[in-house]
């Protein structure tokens, strides 16, 4: 068994193969020089802390050795040979596989025409995070292009470090993708309260380096000068290997519900793949979410061992900005209609209902983990394809857990 990509998904898959009792060889190949680590803290604590952070590793050499997992770090797979059933590394070596898992993740989307500069950067890896941190200090002017989760979390962290922050979003509002306007408005207001200058509905005309300064010209003519410019305009799946090997691609490596690609011996999981989401009648999606990477790592491992288990879970995502915690279960664009539930003084949940009254998603925001429990229960209701009454969802005094028993 060979796994390409030693991120959270690849690492989980490697251990899951052992948990399933597989005795043969397991090789995990990763381009980064680090042990597999958690990415979510990179835009949060690792950026906001005054002290230099350590990577939050998810396993260590001891555990890898105990599980007889061969980790090849700093090794890049440059080619798949489906006929010969082997993968070729950048150092010239080749490794044979019986079953192969592609867990290659995603890379930051690039803006064309950017200057080659250490002051104009993106964030995906621990090394990227360290490079950004080197610039962050009180008073350093930070410009962030993109009002998605990573851009917003970075804005919050940079404010904690005392940086003046301008965030530029081309869409009419932040968090256009996947987050309802009512919740995005709460996030927007908090950023403004914390002193972030948010500019929405403005494309970028140009970004240029002038000495130590990055000059950003907006489509509307306005100019912003920054000491550091971070581009956070989304991520593109790493499909290069799969594409060259002739595997089907559809916004990611296209896999079936068992995470099998168009080659039955090759599976793909995590941020790099698109798959049919059973809870929405097989709608093809690609997720960029931590829990999905974990779950799909496990699922791919079981199916590589022949278990024939389809994907069945509901997407779930969280983001932390300042004291705010946001959680979303399901995909809110499946909803036609929303019901709002207050969860204490400064927290609420929007339940998204389909035309037939079925609960299809729930988005919540509040201080800390205030919305967590109800979002989790909503996730279970969504998985059961339940149609709870609007009154029960809206009324703070009905315990949502009781709806699960119904």
């Amino acid at each position: 068994m060979v796994i390409v990509g030693a991120g959270e998904c690849g690492a989980r898959a490697a251990f899951a193969l052992r948990e399933q009792g597989y005795q043969g060889s397991v090789t995990l190949i990763g381009e980064e020089l680090h042990l597999p680590y958690e990415r979510p803290p990179l835009s949060k604590e690792a950026m906001a802390s005054e002290a230099d952070p350590a990577a939050k590793i998810v396993t260590d050499l001891r555990k890898l050795a105990d599980a007889r997992i061969i980790l090849m770090s700093g090794a890049r797979v440059v080619r798949l040979d489906r006929q010969a059933h082997d993968v070729h590394l950048d150092n010239g070596a080749s490794i044979p596989y019986a079953k192969l898992l592609l867990a290659t993740g995603a890379s930051p989307r690039r803006l064309p025409g950017l200057p080659e500069s250490s002051r104009c950067v993106t964030l995906r890896t621990f090394d990227d995070a360290l490079a950004i941190r080197r610039h962050l200090a009180a008073g350093v002017r930070v410009a962030i292009v993109g009002g998605g989760f990573i851009g917003l979390e970075l804005a919050a962290s940079a404010r904690r470090r005392g940086c003046p922050v301008t965030l530029i979003e081309a869409q009419p509002r932040i968090l256009m993708r996947g987050v309802p306007a009512e919740i995005a408005a709460v996030v927007h207001a908090e950023h403004e309260r914390q002193g972030v200058c948010i500019v929405c509905g403005q494309g970028i005309a140009s970004i240029a380096e002038a000495g130590e300064t990055i000059e950003i010209a907006l489509a509307g003519g306005e100019r912003i000068a920054a000491d550091l410019c971070i581009i956070g305009i989304g991520a593109v799946p790493n499909t290069g290997l799969a594409e060259e090997a002739g595997l089907a691609i559809d916004n990611g490596i296209a896999v079936d519900a068992r995470l099998r690609s168009s080659d039955p011996d090759i599976f793909a999981a995590g941020d790099c793949c698109s798959f049919p989401l059973a809870v929405y009648g097989g709608r093809r999606v690609r997720l960029e979410a931590w829990r999905n990477a974990q779950e799909q790592g496990g699922l791919a491992a079981r199916n590589m061992l022949g278990q024939d288990e389809p994907h069945a879970t509901v997407p779930w995502f969280w983001s932390d900005q300042y004291q705010l915690g946001l959680q979303i279960a399901g995909l809110s664009d499946e909803g036609r209609d929303t019901v709002r539930r207050e969860v204490g003084p400064d927290a609420f949940i929007l339940f998204h209902l389909a035309g037939d009254g079925r609960l299809v998603a729930a988005s919540g925001i509040g201080t800390g983990t205030a919305v967590a429990r109800d979002i989790r229960i909503a996730e279970m209701l969504i998985a059961r394809r339940a149609s709870p009454s609007r009154e029960a969802l809206a009324a703070p005094e009905t315990r949502l857990k009781a709806l699960l028993a119904a």
Partner: protein, 104 residues
């Protein structure tokens, strides 16, 4: 030295639920299981030190509200990513309608 302290009234915790209990500088989570037994663990998740009391209790599992890490609250055992360090548990007894826990 181990001592018994009162954490809450038995009625303060719903069945299959959890509440927070603070004592001095320490914080605990007190559970009532579906079969009406009481348990106590450290209050903070071993992953990122978030309080577990906002989490969901299902059977003998507490799920962390932050990233859904799971523990068996009866034994403290961590049940998979992202939590890998077990939760410390404390002896519990009921006395005159109060939940008592033994701390060290």
């Amino acid at each position: 030295m181990a001592e018994w302290i009162k954490a809450c009234e038995a009625d303060d915790v719903d069945e299959e639920d959890v509440i927070r209990f603070d004592h001095g500088s320490r914080t605990f989570a007190i559970y009532r299981s579906p079969d009406d037994e009481y348990f106590a663990t450290d209050g903070l998740c071993t992953h990122e030190k978030v309080h577990l009391a906002n989490g969901l209790v299902m059977d003998d599992i507490i799920e962390c509200p932050k990233h859904n890490g799971r523990f068996n609250y009866k034994t403290g055992a961590a049940k998979g990513a992202p939590v890998c360090v077990n939760l410390k548990t404390y002896p519990v007894k009921l006395e005159a309608g109060a939940v008592m826990i033994q701390i060290d």
